[in-house]
Symmetry: C2
Subunit: 149 residues, 2 copies
Amino acid sequence: MDKEQTPLYFQFFTEVGILNQLSRVGFEAHLPMGITLAHFSVLNHLVRLGDGQTPLQIAKAFQLPKTTMTHTLSVLEKRGLIVMRPNPDDGRSKSVILTELGRTFRDDAIVTSTPYFAGFAAQFPPEKLKDVLPLLAEMRGFLDKERNG
Amino acid sequence: MDKEQTPLYFQFFTEVGILNQLSRVGFEAHLPMGITLAHFSVLNHLVRLGDGQTPLQIAKAFQLPKTTMTHTLSVLEKRGLIVMRPNPDDGRSKSVILTELGRTFRDDAIVTSTPYFAGFAAQFPPEKLKDVLPLLAEMRGFLDKERNG
DNA sequence: CCTATATAGTACGAAATCGCACTATTGGGA
DNA sequence: TCCCAATAGTGCGATTTCGTACTATATAGG
């Protein structure tokens, strides 16, 4: 790699970090007090891909350490948004199940945050996102592969 | 906004979050134990834009709360990478100065992390980054503006 | 000049993040 | 069958993040 290019890559990841920071804070402003993006993301993930997954599967989906997921899930369970059942297929494992409250909570959060996304969408139409999403996903895949192998 | 589009925006910000997560962990693996991306970013910022800035200026540059920056700077000072001087122009404020150790530490970190970026650069050449950087910067600007007013 | 309001930084406490070490369980050989 | 290495989850402690409230200083308006 040309040495001159290094700052460009720093800048790119810095920009990604700030974008993440800003979008997180903006979105959390539309969530009920005490609910973080991490909490919502897990609920959303379970609704989209189906519940019954193990904590480790969820942790891997977000590229987070399993201890972080243990903590997040314990908060969600304390709030009655999920329940943790023993995994019938594996005695070491658990099965994360959405409660009815968790499901409606997720749906409500999407509704209340719609204005936030609408403002953003007015400025950045879907086509623009679709242009860059494949690249971001490819980068994610590359870094993921590099991390594991 | 078309309601059908909401998941696209969720997906976009989720992808940004995971990318941030992966790049942070990957980069921190090349930093000395106990040094985080947040620490390095501040040092890098001071080298690039010049030191003598106030804590609040730095916090704003990264869109972080000033209390977070107070903590980060206290760690950097404890490690001898910066010094905090009173700001001669404003008695309420401080002036963040790089030490020689801080400067060389930053330079060394860039060197040791070069292989990490080289692998990434081989897969994603500079042109690809330059294609998306303006859009990301525009998004950052929009969210920043929305946040403040 | 004086007062009120705004601003810079910090102390503090709560929550999130995460590495390490531990337990329980599994599953693949000897 | 019996190990034993690998895996899932958690307890614990250190660090980071960040909101609230506070102190000190600056600045504008009367």
